[in-house]
Amino acid sequence: MRYSAWFATYGPSYLDGLGWTALTALGASAGAILWGCALLLIRLAGGRGGARAVDAYVQLFRNTPVLLPIYLIYFGFPLIGLPWPAVVCGGLALVLQNGAYVSEILRGSFKAIDRVQFDAARSIGLSPWKTFRKVVLPQVLVYSIPALGNQVVLLLKDTSLLSAISVTELTMRAKLLTEQTGAAYEAFLVVAVLYLLLVSVTEVIFRTAHRAVRWSR
């Protein structure tokens, strides 16, 4: 088959899948970073109980595969009266899992902040919340850029698991096309290349961001 004919037949399907994968990854990454920040806040401001709860949460999600929360939310939420669309269920599972990793990344960067800054913040009369938002968070996020990039790449690859709950992202598209055409590994080869493309773009974005904020050190 000529390339143009191939593209006319299958191109739209792959592009649609690519769009869903990119959109899910983007939304879930943003959610995971926000959730990670919230977990850091709970750890820092929640006293001993808060820190212990966050530790337990992180341990739980670190030691179980992502497929479990994906199935739990997708199959479980309708039973408790929350019949959400599959993308939302899967996205939420990715946010919950990756948020745990993000909070650990942020915690590592938090240790790099000089204690003197907290004294300085207090001496100019910043409230604890303002200290967190204006002093802690910006520095923690900037220090974490490379590690966050790795995490976003992992999340991006994990969006492929949403094909198991019928989200029509890239992997699902390849499955559907395989059923139509019977050309299985060709379809997955195309999809693998598209994932590599997305991963490379993500890496370039984070590398550029890292370089852009070098002032911080």
Binding site: P65, L68, Y71, L72, S163, Y185
Partner: protein, 218 residues
Amino acid sequence: MTSGSLLLLAQAAGVSLLLAAAAIVLGTAVGAGLTAMAFSRLAVVRAAYRVWVYLVRGTPVLVLALLVFYALPALDLRTGPYLAGILVLGIYAGALFAEVFRGGVLAIPRPQWESGRSLGLPPGAMLRKVVAPLVLRYALPPYVNVCVMAVKASSVLSIISVWELTFAAREIIERTLAVFTVLGVAAALYFVMCLGIDRAGKWLERRLMVRGFVGEPA
């Protein structure tokens, strides 16, 4: 949940652990080979290493699994999902192990190389007596992390119809609709396996610690 379902899940957890163990053995061999490539004298071999690691790490495990699952029969190799699954996990873990080992070699302090050379150690002895013991210690914590990842990644094989813990959990859910209990038990089993590996790694780390060794990683 019936005791029958519980037994089934426990058996399935055993299968998951076996799959991961096989993948770790295979992946360690693959990783060691790849690491040798990473330090090759030939630029072509080093480039091949980088390309391979980039390809494997840039593709989701599920896509790798589906590729191998469908590509092997096309190559007239009918292996069934179990062997295909172990192969995929081994390839995936191998690329991660390779990066771990490479990091371990790079962490060896320069004086170790120099003193080995000045003692006139032949390359084989250098590898056995200097490089291997140091890499073992430097690389152990990330190595254990990858082992935990292998256990978690084995759940993905349920999608290519490998009967392991996640597959069994789905099967039981379809029969009983007990979503929360079944997935809760499955999560607990994964948790115990992963935490067990983690603890075993920490124990080994302490066992291997050489008191008074001042060779901080470079």
